[in-house]
């Protein structure tokens, strides 16, 4: 009897999860469909580009430069064990562009942007500002969701590109200043080693992570519970869901691009 009850509870949880996934998929399709239908709130889109793209540059830059430097040190130390220290420029480049650049930028965006979107929209919900939008003949999907979704889709790949470059430069700085590498050959090896597919995969991941970050923030914000606790829960859930979705999507995209 206990086993049946436990099974029933498990089944109910799985059904609940599937229903939530279905609602999220419908929300995603609905949000994306607004990208094809005017009116568009240009001012909101510009503000979102500023908030999500431009103002995230410092945190992305700092994350990338420290990661690139640490990566160079680790590769040098590991390569030293079997006399392969000279591969530092190539491995730093491929490591940053294919994996660390997109993933770390994605996670920083989840921390900085998804949390901000979820908290802002959840607060608007609990203070009836979203109801007020509706009474002013304004669709919240168009006014709140679409600008953030478009801005994240456009700006996160650009942030990833910036993060890739800064990360590589972090590795270059550490390698030339402390590991004895010569600057010009280091940079030549980096550029020669990278292939167009590496860059395409990096930017594609950035776009996908941007979409996921914005969608999670909007979804959990719009579905928040009441009061300060509801806003807090929505924010926490949005960041966790965005981070997990980014890591899962990263694995799927790596598989799609590089498994032969």
């Amino acid at each position: 009897m206990i086993a049946v009850s436990a099974l029933a509870r498990l089944g109910a949880r799985i059904l609940g999860l599937l229903a939530a996934l279905g609602r999220f998929a419908a929300f995603t399709v609905h949000a994306l469909s607004h990208a094809l239908r005017p009116p568009f709130h240009g001012r909101e889109i510009a503000l979102s580009l500023l908030q999500i793209g431009w103002l995230s540059l410092p945190v992305v830059g700092l994350t990338a430069i420290f990661t690139g430097g640490a990566l160079a040190l680790q590769i040098y130390a590991g390569g030293n064990r079997f006399g392969a220290e000279e591969v530092v420029p190539q491995i730093v480049a491929i490591g940053m562009v294919r994996e660390l650049g997109p993933v770390l930028v994605g996670l920083m965006i989840a921390a900085r942007v998804t949390s901000s979107i979820a908290a802002e929209i959840a607060t608007m919900k609990v203070t009836e500002q979203i109801d007020a939008l509706v009474t002013l003949s304004t669709d919240p999907m168009k006014y709140l969701v679409l600008p953030r979704l478009l801005a994240a889709t456009v700006s996160v790949p650009l942030l990833v590109a910036v993060g890739d470059v800064i990360g590589i430069l972090g590795g270059w700085f550490v390698s030339t200043q402390t590991l004895g590498f010569v600057s010009t050959p280091y940079l030549r090896n980096t550029i020669n080693f990278l292939e167009p597919l590496d860059i395409v995969s990096s930017l594609t991941k950035g776009a996908a992570f941007g979409v996921l970050s914005a969608l999670m923030g909007c979804w959990f914000g719009l579905n928040s519970g009441r009061g300060a606790m509801g806003v807090g829960r929505a924010t926490k859930s949005a960041v966790v869901a965005a981070a997990v979705a980014i890591l899962a999507a990263n694995m799927a995209l790596t598989e799609a691009f590089f498994s032969r």
């Binding site: 608007m124 203070t127 009836e128 500002q129 007020a132 939008l133 009474t135 002013l136």
Partner: protein, 246 residues
């Protein structure tokens, strides 16, 4: 004209509206009173399409809108929310001019109109560039009222317009609502606990209790309704058919 027939709404096992029948004529000011949690806000949100009713019909100007968007209705509608619901990312003038800006009125003209509307509710022009968080509670309420009436709506809803205000500011808001309704000739539904608001703004009054309109009649008949629910409510008595704990 707003017509509700058999409007019902439950949240889980909690039956909030149990079959509301109500007509509000064009140009009429109806006030709905009732205790906390009796479904007054749910009633308004059903009319606006913010909450889908479980049963019943909603007709606006003769059209059944129960399950369809109310775009035409909302385009000539204004609402004052209980907490103001001003957009805190926008300065006051952009809140007030929100509908004008949406309708592509030039920004300079929209700003001028917003400042004129702020003056109508007793707010000086210098408040136009402040953000809602920089205003006192009473000023926020007046700014929210300015937003509600800015586009000269034909229908206005007021949700607890004096909640949280001191008696003097509540009197100011009540007077402004009465003036707005009279000046605009608008149809108004107000929900409130505040008997001063009822006596200031109502043409007709309805008492909502246990999901039903227990009594509805002209505001002048409120004191001689003979209904025990109304008697208890308007005199604020602890004893009577309305249980303090609901």
């Amino acid at each position: 004209m707003i017509e509700l027939r058999g409007l019902a709404k439950s949240f889980g096992a909690n039956r909030v509206l149990a079959g509301i029948d109500l007509d509000v004529a064009t140009g009429e000011s109806l006030v709905v009173i009732g205790g906390s949690g009796t479904g007054k806000s749910v009633l308004l949100k059903c009319v606006l399409g913010l909450i889908e009713p479980d049963a019943g019909t909603i007709r606006l100007d003769g059209q059944d809108v129960t399950h369809i968007p109310r775009d035409a209705f909302l385009s000539r509608f204004g609402m004052l929310f209980q907490g103001g619901a001003l957009f805190d990312s926008l300065p006051v003038w952009q809140n007030v001019a929100f509908r004008h800006l949406k309708d592509r009125v030039p920004r300079a003209e929209a700003r001028t109109r917003a400042i004129e509307t702020l003056a109508r509710v007793g707010l000086p022009a210098r408040t136009a560039d402040l953000y809602p968080a920089e205003l006192s509670g009473g000023m926020q309420k007046r700014a929210a009222l300015a937003r509600a009436i800015a586009a000269d709506p034909q229908v206005i809803f007021f949700d607890e317009p004096t909640a949280g205000l001191d008696p003097i500011m509540a009197g100011v808001i009540n007077k402004l609502i009465r003036e707005a309704v009279t000046h605009l000739g608008a149809t108004a539904i107000t929900i409130t606990h505040d008997m001063t608001t009822v006596r200031t703004v109502a043409d007709r009054v309805g008492l909502l209790h246990d999901g039903l309109l227990r009594w509805i009649g002209p505001a002048d008949d409120l004191d001689r309704s003979g209904d025990p629910y109304v008697e208890q409510f308007i005199h604020g008595r602890a004893e009577g058919p309305i249980a303090p704990l609901r």
